[in-house]
Symmetry: C2
Subunit: 342 residues, 2 copies
């Protein structure tokens, strides 16, 4: 069966995803019997297009690369109508993240799920704010709500927890979930001050012009909420997560930790305490013999503490164009191979 | 559907597996709809037993714990007949590893697969020596040959590679695949000599009386062969893998590496070079900023280099009673949930 895909949002991630799908087309067909068509795209800049037999993606990519509006298959439908009316089996929600009220993404997800379409998203908004409700909606319509890309996109932590680790109980999760802050702390260990490193991070594209979402721990808090709900079934809200960022960590703090054979890391924690799941984001001094201490720069890492195995740590890249495209792909393949874990 | 299981070998791993299955019975039923019966056991010490409606496992455990032969449901069948004739859906092959010719395990696997039963095994013999043939046999009979427990049992590396990492191409695998040798090298860094540490490892149960299988790299070589064949589709034989152990590493070598900010590790490598997959086991000096350098003691770790994500490292326990039981369980659940990757 050909998987018919709609892309809502055709920015870096959407284009990156298509490039991977195209590059891997032959291999995925041979190895997993996976074939696909992109039947719809909704994008603020390029317009909304639909062709039930599959869009001419070379044309769409060319239009987009020139910054033009799409030049064929344009429809008058707004996003919600397009999502509901198109013949896609699966909708990739790839618009911008809004951690306050979920932004338009929440309505996109609802429209897709309630019209019987799987949703795959890297958008932290719906996943962090409304996971339990959206999961219920997906179940009610016999489809999947898949969110690997919302947490450490370049490292498949959610599929790891709910697939290969399914046999054990995860009792605690601790991780370095934000590359920007980890880069800043790593650089400060070299003797540089916070403000100087923040400027460098902005120059290198690791931090945004307004870095508050990263440095205040807001981004990590969203990820902690998602992990708590999806891996530990918590029903947690984002405001339930205590959150402290790294802006108050001084060079002196970092050097003092070094002298104690420790390293400051911004750690996201999810833990079951007296039967209740609690979440927290805070800078912590980590001993050097802990694998999390060895994670420098924009790399991410996560330790699952389990009943049967003790600690399992996975280390890999965070979010980037290719990484996020990969995470979407992982969920698309999991749906195709009937290997969804949640 | 109730999964009917036959256990071939009822030593530490077989009993450990049953204990986990019993402990997790309610959770697995609720979460995955998984229910099971043990219908047959074949064991050299305790005898061969069969009850198509399920054995009385409390009784079997009690007999075994007292070192007695089983006291009910004994059958005259030999292992092969039991495997072929019993009504199990799935056979767990848990006898001893023979890396020369596969030992009786190879015949157990063949009997099970050819009579339409899935095989789950932690036995490196059949997996390292005959994987391609057994996989073919499994495919021909529409069943699975699952071997998570053969490589770093406490860390689900095979299910990770073939499930959550399915979207990318693994171009290289490097890992610390043997806890015994890693423990020895870690202790030598504290200034102890090889022979002294080997004695300590034997005392702690980390090394066997005849430690050659571990220290000469033979165990790691088997795992390298398995990874090459299952993750990178190599069709490799165990003798194709260059193999050097750690017996010649002196305290001076270890201290010299320390002075260079490096650590000796016994590294198993699988790599695609000019289109050909090659395997190697050898001690290597690893720079301290490589995650593999931070792995001390009996912990194992493995780095998958991939086309889309760069390096993904997973760290966790090696083989032990509970860990190996877990690995068998992971494959049993994967079969039940129709989430097998290979």
């Amino acid at each position: 069966m050909i998987t018919k895909i709609a892309l809502v949002g055709f920015g870096t991630v959407g284009k990156g995803l298509y490039e991977i799908l195209k590059e891997k087309e032959v291999r995925f067909k041979e190895k997993y019997g996976f074939t696909y068509k992109i039947v719809a795209i909704a994008d603020r800049s390029f317009g909304n297009v639909y062709n039930p037999n599959g869009l001419n993606m070379d044309r769409m990519m060319m239009d987009a690369s020139m910054g033009n509006r799409f030049t064929e298959d344009l429809v008058e439908w707004d996003n919600i109508t397009l999502i509901k009316e198109c013949n896609a089996d699966l909708v990739c929600e790839l618009t911008y993240t809004d951690l306050k009220d979920g932004g338009p993404a929440i309505d996109h997800c609802k429209a897709a799920l309630s019209s019987g379409k799987h949703v795959v998203t890297s958008n932290k908004g719906p996943a962090a704010l409304f996971y339990p409700g959206l999961k219920k909606l997906a179940d009610a319509h016999g489809v999947k709500f898949m969110i690997e890309g919302t947490v450490v996109a370049g490292t498949p932590v959610i599929n790891l927890a709910s697939g290969p680790l399914a046999g054990c109980e995860v009792t605690k999760i601790r991780g370095i979930l934000n590359g920007t802050t980890n880069f800043i702390l790593s650089e400060m260990e070299k003797g540089k001050r916070y403000k100087e490193v923040l400027k460098l991070a902005q120059k290198l594209g690791y931090a945004e012009a307004d870095p508050s979402g990263d440095v205040n721990g807001i981004d990590a808090r969203g990820k902690v909420t998602i992990l708590a709900n999806i891996v530990m079934g918590a029903g947690m809200k984002i405001d339930d997560v205590d959150c402290k960022g790294i802006a108050e960590i001084t060079l002196e703090d970092v050097l003092e930790a070094s002298a104690e054979n420790k390293r400051y890391k911004l750690i996201g924690t999810v833990e079951r305490v007296n039967g209740k799941v609690i979440g927290k984001v805070a800078p912590e001094k980590i001993a050097l013999d802990n694998p999390l201490a060895s994670i420098n720069g924009v790399t991410n890492a996560l330790t699952f503490s389990t009943d049967l195995l003790g600690d399992i740590t996975i280390i890999g890249p965070g979010a980037g164009k290719e990484e996020t495209g990969f995470s979407i792909l992982t969920d698309i393949l999991a749906i195709h191979r009937n290997m969804c874990c949640c």
